[in-house]
Symmetry: C2
Subunit: 280 residues, 2 copies
């Protein structure tokens, strides 16, 4: 059994991502309360793999994940997975939604469903709780005046009914997750490589690194900066490149990058995620 | 009187930054509860200026500020200001710290003082509240078993005593604030220009923009990406450049940038912040 950790409790979007990743495979899933704890558990050998969110199409980068994978030695990214974030209105089976007086969820889903709430449930009060799973649980144990905002997985987990589907204001809401372990993945022919580096403190040093990728015709799918933490105005950069680190051009480019940076860590190569149904 | 808005209540670090910026000038300061509200108040003409945090040396970019200045038309950055984030242990005057049972603050300062708390107050429970000011107020109105973590301004505002100074684990903790209004600033000879842009959805398009700055010898002080929000994997980029937008080279480079981007907004030119005591 492969031990995999996720951000719990059951019914979170991380739980849903974990189920999508593990499928019917031989996995023993364990829930954790925070991203640093999950990643440290892999580091300490308590877990074989961890699945953690890294970016959302609306909120942006997940800083806790970025900071942990930059600093914790030895871990590599072995897979990525994109999950559509679909928020539903969850109630106890048989509840009449006209009687709902309180809507419970984490502050983020509450904010992402503001238009639905003011349009459809203008007299209901919102109540912020620790997680969408906690909201679902409270609804399951409470009166018919309560509803929660949460995922289909949360509904299934706590025996709730989906009264309204897809109530989020922005329908282009996706979260990308990564799977980290002690190794990355072999070449699949359609791969991505993630790196993190810091440059010398001199003008044009970031440009000179990007120039290397341009010279070797390597495409950049993403660039993010995070503070270097020792001084305001100093950054580390996360870059996702198309290709596998064992491809000749990418390997040569990374050797050159290591000469032009003060710190370089190859976070791993892994297949680019594609929905089974995706055509283009 | 110039009407300026800040993230309140009194005693927050934003309040402290606002006092540092306004000095003894003719300002009427008004506190707001969220960054979007402050920025929209400038847009609507209810405020002349707003001072908002934009990045912290440990936590990184302040997303609410980045997203508002990218999308709200007409506003310009006219100044920047850096504030050291000094967290103190605040108690009612005369309190013996060995009797403290509860330490109150916003979750972020509680997290940033973890080492101090476990070392010096191992038996005290932490309690997360909405803001450091709310924590200070609760301590001021409560028993001698309570302490808050907060700023010197919060101590002054709520009549508390600083029992321990600089209790944050990382002493390189600074926040950069920007002042936005309807105009930016004239040339001072030591300026910075902030822009935001999105590129065409084709390989190498970000590189081609940075290449323009390289050609014109313009130095980049910062680059940040934020999601474009309509699709995962599409970004907008915030870049700070050294120089004023009326400098010949920078002006010419920006004309070229406007030809190579699908969207470009010049957020303003303003003097680079320097502490009065700073030598280099």
């Amino acid at each position: 059994m492969i031990k995999i950790g996720y951000l719990g409790p059951k019914g979170t979007f991380s739980f849903e991502a974990m189920k999508k990743y593990t499928g019917n495979g031989p996995y023993d899933a364990q829930d954790y309360l925070s991203i640093p704890e999950i990643i440290l558990a892999v580091q300490d050998g308590k877990l074989d793999e961890a699945i953690v969110p890294i970016e959302n199409s609306i909120e942006g980068a997940v800083n806790a994940t970025m900071d942990m994978i930059a600093t914790e030695a030895g871990l590599m990214i072995k897979a990525e997975l994109v999950l559509p974030i679909r928020e539903h209105l969850l109630v106890k089976p048989g509840t009449d939604i006209s009687g709902i007086r309180y809507v419970l969820s984490h502050p983020q889903p509450l904010g992402q469903c503001r238009r639905f709430l003011s349009g459809q449930l203008p007299y209901a009060q919102t109540k912020a709780v620790y997680s969408t799973s906690a909201a679902a649980q409270e609804v399951a144990e409470g009166s018919n005046e309560l509803a929660a905002i949460g995922s289909a997985a949360a509904a299934a987990e706590y025996g709730l009914e989906i009264a309204k589907t897809d109530i989020q204001d922005n329908h282009n809401n996706h979260t990308r997750f990564i799977v980290v372990g002690m190794n990355d993945s072999p070449k699949s022919g359609n791969d991505k490589t993630s790196i993190v580096f810091s440059t010398e403190d001199e003008p044009g040093s970031l440009y000179r690194v990007l120039d290397i990728f341009n010279l070797w015709d390597i495409n950049m799918a993403r660039i993010e900066s995070r503070p270097a933490k020792h001084r305001l105005g100093r950054y580390i950069f996360f870059v996702d490149l198309l290709g596998h680190r064992e491809d000749g051009d990418l390997r040569d480019a990374l050797i050159m990058v290591s000469r032009k940076t003060s710190f370089l860590k190859i976070l791993g190569s892994y297949p680019i995620f594609r929905e089974p149904s995706e055509d283009k």
